[in-house]
């Protein structure tokens, strides 16, 4: 009797976990079906090599590269901001700051990640861009730069907190050993602590990149909607996510090729993040194994 009950409970729990698999399958099937339809009309080669993305124009071109470049550009800018800042902050909090300072600053910085991104978009558009324009007159009203910068600020805590966690996870005894041998704080931080936490730090950076790539509202509000194969951050660009939002909000009739293009874009986005997530997953595994 007890055994039956146990079995039933196990089955229920198994079903719960299977939902996540169904979710993935759902995502893949839905993206794939529509993308399959899409590729009936558009050549895959053109899709991945074309340099123009104009599905909503009369002269339709389906080269995803401009969206990818826009995505990568904003991501790159964001990482350029978040990586040095985040890492420095992590090291500082871990090695230099006293406990009370850290106890205040870390959650405060984490607030940055908790703010809804639509707020950042608003902020980038109405605050950062005008300020930047006063330095850089040629800066477009929508531009990759300001979106990227704000996004970078947003993901600082991803890097700083997760890296700090990784650094904190390094046994304190390692730090003591380093000091005991006569290391300065800087030497301790960079020669011992960071290498020891390296996999955790890398995971945090990868996750931050993945987050930046998938980020939607900031770029949708502030980076523009101009698919353009460029790496000039002063330009207005369009990211994959923006495109999906744009089409979702717009008057594009469903079942049209224009509409289906968001699935093709979506699967590209999915693919990009999927790779990064997998990398981080395996790294994390390694990380965990090494420390336990």
């Amino acid at each position: 009797m007890q055994k039956v009950k146990e079995k039933i409970i196990e089955a229920i729990l198994l079903i719960c976990s299977s939902i996540t698999v169904l979710t993935t399958i759902g995502i893949i099937i839905i993206l794939a079906i529509e993308t399959f339809q899409f590729f009936k009309d558009v050549s895959i080669v053109e899709f991945f090599t074309g340099t123009e993305w104009t599905p909503l124009f009369a002269n339709k071109k389906f080269g995803i590269l401009p969206l990818v470049s826009g995505t990568l550009l904003t991501t790159f800018i964001a990482i350029l901001v978040a990586l040095p800042l985040g890492l420095t902050i992590a090291v500082y909090l871990n090695e230099y700051a006293d406990k009370r300072f850290k106890a205040v600053i870390k959650p405060l910085l984490e607030v940055l990640a908790a703010i809804p991104t639509v707020v950042y978009g608003f902020f980038a558009l109405t605050f950062i861009t005008p300020i930047l324009q006063s330095f850089i007159p040629s800066l477009a009203g929508f531009n990759a730069l300001s979106a990227g910068l704000v996004m970078g600020i947003m993901i600082i805590p991803y890097v700083s907190s997760m890296s700090e966690d990784a650094l904190s996870a390094v046994p304190n005894s390692l730090r003591e050993a380093a000091y005991g041998m006569g290391s300065t704080r800087l030497q301790t931080a960079f020669k011992v602590m960071l290498p020891a936490a390296s996999s955790g730090v890398i995971v945090s950076v990868i996750l931050a990149i993945s987050r930046a790539i998938g980020e939607t509202m900031i770029v949708a509000v502030a980076a523009g909607q101009e698919p353009r194969l460029t790496f000039n951050p002063l330009n207005s660009i369009e990211t994959i996510t923006t495109y999906i939002v744009q089409v979702s909000m717009g008057d594009v009739p469903q079942n049209s090729i224009e509409f289906r293009s968001i699935f093709a874009a979506g699967i590209t986005l999915f693919g990009l993040t999927f790779i990064l997530n997998n990398i981080s997953f395996w790294m994390k595994r390694k990380f965990v194994q090494r420390y336990e």
Binding site: T24, L109, T117, F127, S248, G266
Partner: protein, 285 residues
């Protein structure tokens, strides 16, 4: 001595640099809050909260968006909570052996990183179209549930994992069954952390905009939703909507709504931090 001196200078230089870095983040945060508060604070009053949406900025309120948000979040919670905990418990407690569980684990790690907008697409197609829920609260909640499920599962797993194996062994050793062990020992011991994860998931759901846009929550709804099948809108979308309106009054409204939204988010996060600290202090293995 020379070498030591050099090291000392480097050490101090880094410290200054790091303080600057830290300030950058905080200054931006401060600017952001200041910017929004300076614009929006005056607009906040009881009417703003209880008014229905309107095309006139001065009359417009966030009532429906707020209630819509509460509906969506509550429903999301109700859906994702049991499933997420169930899945988390399964993976930690039952699934160690089978390859399927391992596969689920990888899968969850990936899902956690799937951009939210992809969930929007999934929700649109699966719940909106296939299940014909349209742009109802239920569709949105289901979508967000899937979105936050990985967070809940991961939080549950971490929490459950943090319960030392020796506690389980102790329970088994006393003759408890697996489920008795889980329900009486493991879950109570990890409940604090699970709750923390859950609140973080909720705070994530509160701020989500993109997937709901895709699902189609960008609608004018002049009434408080009453059933899960009602149409709805949520605060972030209301904000997004207002920011794209021509009248400058709406920018003020948007800022005011942002303040409310941030308050929600901060309270939730603060609560999570509080729980985490309390829990950490209480349970030391």
């Amino acid at each position: 001595m020379n070498n030591a001196r050099k090291n000392e200078i480097k050490d101090n230089a880094f410290k200054v640099f790091a303080l600057v870095c830290t300030s950058v983040g905080l200054i931006v945060l401060g600017l952001l809050l200041y910017n929004i508060i300076s614009v929006g604070l005056t607009r906040i009053n009881w009417d703003f909260i209880t008014n229905l949406p309107s095309r006139r900025p001065g009359k417009a309120g966030i009532y429906t968006a707020l209630l819509g948000m509460i509906w969506v979040v509550t429903l999301t919670l109700i859906i994702s909570f049991p499933i997420g905990i169930g899945a988390g418990v399964y993976l930690e407690e039952y699934g160690k052996k089978n390859p399927f569980a391992k596969f689920i684990e990888i899968n969850i790690a990936n899902l956690a990183g799937v951009p939210s907008i992809i969930y929007g697409i999934l929700g649109l197609e699966l719940f909106g179209r296939l299940l014909a829920l349209g742009n109802s609260i239920l569709a949105a909640s289901l979508t967000l549930s899937l979105l936050v499920l990985p967070i809940v599962i991961v939080a549950t797993r971490e929490a459950v994992k943090a319960v030392p194996g020796s506690l389980r062994e102790a329970s088994y050793g006393l003759g408890a069954t697996r489920w008795q062990t889980i329900s009486r020992i493991v879950l109570p011991a990890s409940f604090g952390s699970i709750l923390t994860g859950l609140i973080l998931a909720v705070s994530r759901a509160v701020g989500e905009t993109a997937p709901l846009i895709v699902v189609g929550a960008l609608v004018y709804v002049p009434f408080a939703p009453k059933t899960p099948m009602d149409q709805f809108t949520v605060l972030p979308i209301q904000i997004f909507n207002w920011t794209s309106r021509p009248q400058s009054g709406f920018v003020v409204n948007a800022a005011a709504a942002i303040i409310i939204l941030l308050m929600f988010v901060f309270i939730l996060n603060g609560f999570a931090v509080f729980l985490r600290n309390r829990h950490n202090r209480r349970v030391k293995y």
